[in-house]
């Protein structure tokens, strides 16, 4: 008990530090962004897409180190270009999208590993890309995340009906005059950018959790689309707050703690929905 009280005391001390405040704000922004974009990502069956694009980030970071540039600035254009090319290949072939995504994922992973092995000396950047470090995010990252969140919110909220219709049935959306291709590519661009900014904080391996788990949890409880979208955002945001607090209290890595909170919320919701049905 006393240890918990000292822990809480420590947490308050911790929150005095600017890096901790930045981490908290960053986590909340990313949780919100993940919940917002995740809602459509899961419904459009793009969750594996963001996973594959995330792995392309490895290549970007390794290249960045090799070329002596800031690896994190290589990340953004790299995931973006990979995202657009991947969607283009899916559109242009008869292959199932999961085949294309596996090709892209394995290809970029293999390239990333080989490029990394060419890096002389310190390879700390690689672990940072795989696991992320939310405590290391700086003002630029925060502003970038905020900008992407704002653009995504405006884009999705102002074209909501078209977005839903396009997700339900692209043909019907096209007949009603929705610019289906423009919206699809815009969404994938935003998704790739969101993955890129979140990788620095939570890493390649866990970034997809932010997109998939909150929206999947929201879907379990929703009968209306409006409720689904709001819940997805709220769950994303709340898991970040709880996760950051818990990571401070128990002195654990922040990214994984947030993902564990998302996971527990999902398990709890799932059991609750199941039990209620019996």
């Amino acid at each position: 008990m006393t240890s918990l009280i000292t822990n809480i005391h420590d947490l308050f001390n911790l929150l005095q530090f600017p890096f901790m405040q930045r981490a908290m704000i960053g986590a909340v922004l990313m949780g919100t962004l993940g919940g917002l974009l995740g809602s459509f990502t899961t419904l459009r069956q793009l969750s594996y897409f963001s996973h594959a694009v995330g792995h392309a980030a490895l290549v970007g970071v390794a290249l960045g180190v090799l070329l002596n540039t800031n690896p994190h600035w290589m990340l953004l254009p790299f995931t973006l270009i990979f995202g657009i090319i991947t969607l283009y290949i899916i559109d242009q072939t008869d292959l199932a999208s999961d085949s294309v995504l596996t090709i892209v994922l394995s290809g970029s992973l293999a390239m990333g590993v080989i490029l990394t092995s060419m890096i002389q000396g310190y390879r700390g950047n690689l672990t940072a890309v795989l696991f992320g470090d939310i405590l290391a995010i700086d003002h630029t990252d925060l502003i970038l995340t905020l900008i992407i969140l704002l653009i995504s919110s405006i884009f999705i909220l102002s074209t909501m009906r078209s977005q839903i219709l396009l997700t339900l049935n692209p043909d019907v959306a096209k007949v009603q005059g929705v610019p289906v291709e423009v919206y699809r590519y815009s969404f994938v661009i935003l998704l790739s950018l969101a993955v890129a900014v979140a990788i620095k904080a939570v890493g390649v391996l866990l970034v997809n959790a932010f997109l998939v788990i909150p929206s999947a949890t929201a879907k379990l409880m929703s009968e209306h689309f409006s409720r689904f979208l709001i819940l997805s955002v709220v769950i994303g945001c709340i898991s970040s707050i709880i996760g950051m607090t818990a990571s401070g209290l128990f002195n654990q890595a922040s990214g994984p703690t947030i993902v564990i909170v998302q996971f527990l919320l999902f398990v709890f919701t799932f059991s609750w929905v199941r039990l209620r049905r019996i």
Partner: protein, 270 residues
């Protein structure tokens, strides 16, 4: 019922020499027809005759090799705001039944993104919020009316995943009549609905046609229903085999030409 030839009316839909290849396979060959306002036309034909392909080609959803399509007198690409007057319900509108959306939200999707239900209002900055509320109110009224017309108002708060097949069809019909249309294209929208349900649908379509001047084009498998309710039939088997009033187009000789010798009208099961 049928068009008076002496009256000059512009066709709602005009298809001229439409030819569609799917890969190397010739799916539709040189199809031409016109639809006039206030008519209900059915496309019939055997499986694989290209009925859905024809509809998709007309709507520019798949590319065509040759031909010209005009809707309301314009090519589809130049339709602009008139697209709102065009309704389309494909065979598999909802393929993800787990989609978290309620019936009334789905019907609301039928209203375009920026359109208000009762036409465009001039916008003024001062009363923007007021107008926004007014539009919201008009839209929810339109959704309510549409659901009531198709006898589905009691389903308004249900998720689409919990609806039965027939209920879903009624909701989709409500979707297509939530705003006024001029041309409604239904691709086997009534397949899987029981006889009473189908009769209700046709009665409603008939009402829309007579009272509001809608033009309906439907792909159908149900020859008897088509015979009873449609003004005109297009028999399709890769190309237009015959067209005309149901009693003529659906004569035994024409059915034989469309469906081939294996078809017997009174033993047609689904």
């Amino acid at each position: 019922m049928t068009q008076n030839p002496s009256r000059i009316t512009l066709p709602i839909l005009k298809v001229e020499g439409l030819t569609i290849y799917q890969g190397k396979y010739l799916a539709i060959r040189d199809v031409s027809f016109e639809l006039f306002p206030g008519t209900d036309t059915a496309i019939v034909g055997p499986n694989g005759a290209g009925k859905s392909t024809l509809v998709k080609g007309m709507l520019d959803l798949i590319p065509h090799t040759a031909g010209k399509i005009e809707v309301f007198g314009f090519p589809l690409s130049r339709l602009g705001n008139l697209r709102q007057l065009l309704g389309y319900i494909p065979q598999n509108f909802i393929f993800d039944r787990s989609f978290p959306i309620s019936t009334s939200e789905l019907v609301g999707l039928g209203i375009g993104q920026y359109e208000s239900v009762s036409g465009r209002n001039s916008s003024s900055v001062n009363s923007w919020l007021c107008k926004f509320r007014q539009i919201r109110r008009q839209q929810s009224t339109a959704i309510k009316v549409a659901l009531q017309r198709t006898n589905a108002y009691h389903l308004r708060n249900k998720t689409i995943g919990t609806l039965s097949g027939g209920e879903l069809k009624r909701v989709l019909l409500a979707y297509s009549l939530v705003t006024p249309r001029k041309l409604l294209i239904l691709d086997e929208a009534f397949a899987g609905v029981d006889i009473q349900g189908a009769a209700d649908f046709y009665a409603l379509l008939n009402q829309l046609k007579l009272e509001e001047g809608w033009t309906v084009l439907q792909v159908s498998h149900d020859i008897d229903m088509v015979n009873r309710h449609c003004d005109r039939v297009l028999c399709l088997n890769q190309t237009l085999v015959c067209s005309g009033k149901p009693e003529i187009a659906l004569s035994p000789q024409n059915l034989l030409a469309t469906y081939g010798p294996g078809f017997s009208r009174y033993q047609h099961h689904h």
